[in-house]
């Protein structure tokens, strides 16, 4: 460690490193030692428990105290020394704690949820790797390491989404997630390279810190000027664009959001982790780390895209029938809120929302997991041909799964953002600051907070629809098949303890002693960039009231519509319904245009490869064969022929000559006579 650090800080850094490495150690132990043993689940769980304890320790030492930055030289290229180390500031310790706290209940839950799965130990290996990569991602101080762990997060999520790799749909989903994330990775890589060229360092603290290079660089006259030189401002825009791509891919923002709903193919507990604290949080975390990089216009674009994503995903969530898909779109919608909050300058509220969202979304997914598990049992017991995730089959489960129902209710209310829940504190903070931000902006930008407001009512509606359809009314499956045999319950303590823990974390006291005013939340005070804490105008009173009153009305409306179905129902055929139900046709569009174009391109390349390049090679080969054939023919017929001719001549002469030596004495006489006669005849002729 860095010897200049005080003893306490060095200790804190060591604790943080141990906290990060423990899940990796669990991964290695599971991988090398345990094989298919059921102990792997408890090894991973214990590792993450220890991580959590250490992370909490680190958190309380660093939070609101001072930044700890320890590093040492990793390698040197030319004159550039690349340092690797640990950067513990408010943001990273918050994430460190959040990730480990969310991961722990998920691990406990998984030990029961995956109990009967064949890939039990493989699952925990991947899960530990996933947690390790995320924990490492949040504490590293170096862009190269950041990029590396960013990739490992993507890779381990790929493994987990495609966990049931025998299913075709899971393979498609993890491929899609991976490819979408690659697009973002390219953006991040480009951004990192541009930053290095401009600032000659990979050190996050040196670039983005309070006294860092970003603060001291400006854009004037189309030049991006830093202490080390200047480049055209275009490069700054490209770098920011790359970062945005990375954020959009990991945090599922429009237009790269389509992988997230498909990522539901993984086990539900993985979905909980991906949606709550690890995968999608990485994007917002990156935005938090790179925040000083963005200038005013870029932030506005960020706000617009976040707002649009939130609105779009909420409208899609209204009509979906797959339990996990609804939750997936609600995640996209909430991530849209976070990105929008970053865009409007509500830095702390965005991270606050990230934290609260992590708890209630994790809770909702665990609830969904229990419900799906029970539905699947019913399906398997009765040999029904149903989709266990379809909410149209459910209903009236509140009596059968009482604890699950209460947990779902708390999580749902937090997602809607009603008072007394944590969601209220964070979401209203975002909305209020969005209104503050839009004051004095152009008219079109004034639309942003209103759309966000509308989106939060939509959220209220789809949450109410989800909860009503699943937990209220009659059990529709039983109604359709009255003979089926049902026994279901909340499950063992591995299910109950995580639910209770997460449900408590969804309530306001965890984050603030005041249930109403978001400004009092300790999390908001931890980030120095906050300047919206003063109640400077009426928005701070109107917005929460407006949001909540209307939300309650909307939820009651949904309750009335879906429980007492005889009143009035929504049309299922209109244009808006079809747009929403088909997810805005974005996937269809991608499949029709981009995928088809890429496929066409690859077929064309394939054709080119087959016909032209292979053809060329084949042609050369054919020419070679032909030349060789000619050479062989020449060799055989001319060269060999000549030799054979000589041999044949010699043979012929020999054959001819040996005829005279037949072993018959009288033949010798004949030949002698012949010669003599010939000589005499010739002599006669010539004379």
């Amino acid at each position: 460690m860095n010897p200049t650090l005080p003893y306490n800080d060095a200790q804190t850094v060591t604790l943080a490193i141990i906290a990060v490495v423990l899940p990796f150690a669990a991964f290695v132990v599971n991988f090398l030692l345990l094989g298919k043993s059921k102990a792997s689940g408890w090894v991973s769980t214990l590792a993450i428990l220890a991580s959590k304890v250490l992370a909490a320790n680190v958190f309380f030492k660093v939070w609101d105290n001072h930044t700890i930055h320890a590093q040492q030289v990793w390698f040197t290229i030319g004159a550039t020394k690349v340092q690797a180390g640990i950067l513990l500031n408010n943001l990273s310790v918050l994430m460190l704690l959040l990730v480990s706290v969310i991961a722990l209940p998920v691990h406990i839950y998984s030990t029961a949820y995956m109990k009967d799965d064949e890939g039990y130990s493989r699952y925990f290996r991947y899960l530990s790797l996933f947690c390790f990569s995320m924990l490492a991602l949040v504490v590293v101080d170096n862009l190269i390491l950041l990029y590396a762990f960013w990739e490992v997060v993507g890779f381990s999520s790929y493994l987990l989404i495609g966990f049931w790799f025998t299913r075709e749909s899971a393979i498609m989903a993890n491929k899609k997630a991976f490819i979408m994330n690659r697009i973002g990775d390219i953006g991040l890589l480009i951004a990192i390279l541009i930053l290095f060229v401009q600032y000659r360092t990979f050190d996050i603290e040196q670039i983005f810190g309070n006294k860092g290079s970003i603060v001291n660089s400006v854009i004037t006259n189309g030049q991006w000027i830093s202490r080390l030189g200047s480049v055209p401002a275009l490069w700054q825009y490209i770098a920011v664009g790359g970062i945005f791509l990375a954020v959009a891919a990991k945090s599922a923002q429009f237009p790269l959001h389509t992988w997230l709903p498909d990522a539901m193919e993984g086990p539900t507990s993985v979905s909980a982790l991906i949606h709550a604290a690890t995968m999608v949080a990485a994007g917002v975390f990156l935005l938090g780390r790179f925040y000083p990089m963005f200038n005013g216009t870029e932030l506005t674009i960020l706000a617009i895209i976040g707002c649009f994503t939130a609105f779009m995903a909420a409208t899609i969530a209204l009509t979906q029938n797959d339990l996990k898909r609804i939750l997936a779109y609600s995640t996209i919608s909430q991530l849209g809120f976070m990105v929008m909050a970053m865009g409007v300058g509500a830095y702390s509220s965005s991270l606050f929302h990230l934290a609260t969202h992590a708890f209630f979304k994790c809770l909702l997914f665990l609830v969904a997991g229990i419900v799906i598990h029970q539905m699947k049992h019913i399906k398997d017991d009765n040999n029904l041909d149903i989709d266990p995730q379809n909410i149209l089959h459910m209903g009236g489960l509140r009596k059968k799964l009482p604890l699950t129902f209460i947990a779902a209710l708390i999580g749902g209310l937090a997602l809607v953002g009603l008072p007394l829940t944590s969601g209220y504190l964070s979401k209203d903070g975002i909305l209020i600051q969005a209104f503050d931000w839009s004051d004095g902006k152009a008219d079109i930008l004034k639309l942003v907070p209103y759309v966000a407001l509308f989106t939060s009512w939509l959220t209220a509606f789809y949450v109410a629809r989800l909860i009503v359809k699943v937990f209220f009314g009659d059990f529709r499956l039983q109604k359709m098949n009255p003979q089926i045999h049902i026994h279901m319950g909340d499950g063992g303590w591995q299910y109950k303890v995580p639910l209770v823990f997460l449900a408590i974390c969804c309530l306001f006291p965890v984050f603030s002693y005041s249930p109403v005013f978001y400004e009092d939340a300790w999390l908001n005070k931890g980030f120095a960039k906050v300047n919206f804490l003063a109640r400077e105008n009426m928005y701070h009173y109107i917005i929460p009231v407006l949001v909540n009153v209307l939300s309650v009305v909307v939820m009651y409306g949904a309750y009335v519509v879906y429980v007492k179905r005889n009143s009035w129902s929504f049309p299922q055929t209109g244009l808006l319904f079809r747009i929403s139900f088909n997810e805005w046709y974005i996937d269809t569009f991608y499949n029709r245009v981009i995928v088809r174009f890429v496929m066409w391109l690859s077929y064309a390349s394939y054709w080119f490869d087959r016909k032209v390049i292979d053809g060329l090679v084949n042609l050369v080969e054919k020419i070679g064969i032909a030349l060789a054939g000619i050479a062989a023919w020449f060799d055989k017929h001319i060269v060999d022929g000549f030799l054979h001719l000589i041999a044949d001549i010699v043979h012929g002469i020999g054959g001819f000559a040996r005829r005279f030596q037949g072993g018959k004495i009288q033949y010798y006489l004949y030949s002698m006579l012949l010669v003599l006669v010939t000589v005499f005849i010739l002599k006669l002729i010539w004379t």
Binding site: Q661, G662, G663, K664, I665, Q666, L669, Y670, L673
Partner: protein, 101 residues
């Protein structure tokens, strides 16, 4: 008057008969007889040409000499034939071909 041509004619006929016997007979004794005939043709020539010799009766002398020589060679040849017969149980020269490749 018998002149040289008549002697020559008889000699040629003798020689040709001897030659024919040599090339056609399959019996070593007969071949030996053929050789003797040819030799006699030559001796006849020697006697006939002796008429023109400056030394008197030189041809006859040579003829006598040759006849003695012929008798000697014939004895040797018969001895060889006898040995050949012992070895090969035949005196057909076509069958005696062990030197053939």
């Amino acid at each position: 008057m018998i002149n040289l041509n008549d002697f020559m004619l008889v000699s040629v006929v003798l020689f040709c008969i001897g030659l024919f016997i040599i090339v056609s007979k399959k019996n070593a004794i007969m071949i030996l007889i053929g050789i003797e005939l040819m030799l006699n043709a030559a001796i006849l020539n020697l006697v006939a040409f002796g008429k023109y010799d400056r030394i008197n009766n030189g041809g006859q002398m040579f003829a006598l000499f040759a006849i003695v020589l012929a008798a000697a060679t014939t004895a040797v040849a018969l001895a060889i034939i006898l040995n050949v017969y012992r070895r090969y149980k035949t005196i057909n020269p076509d069958k005696i071909n062990q030197l053939k490749d």
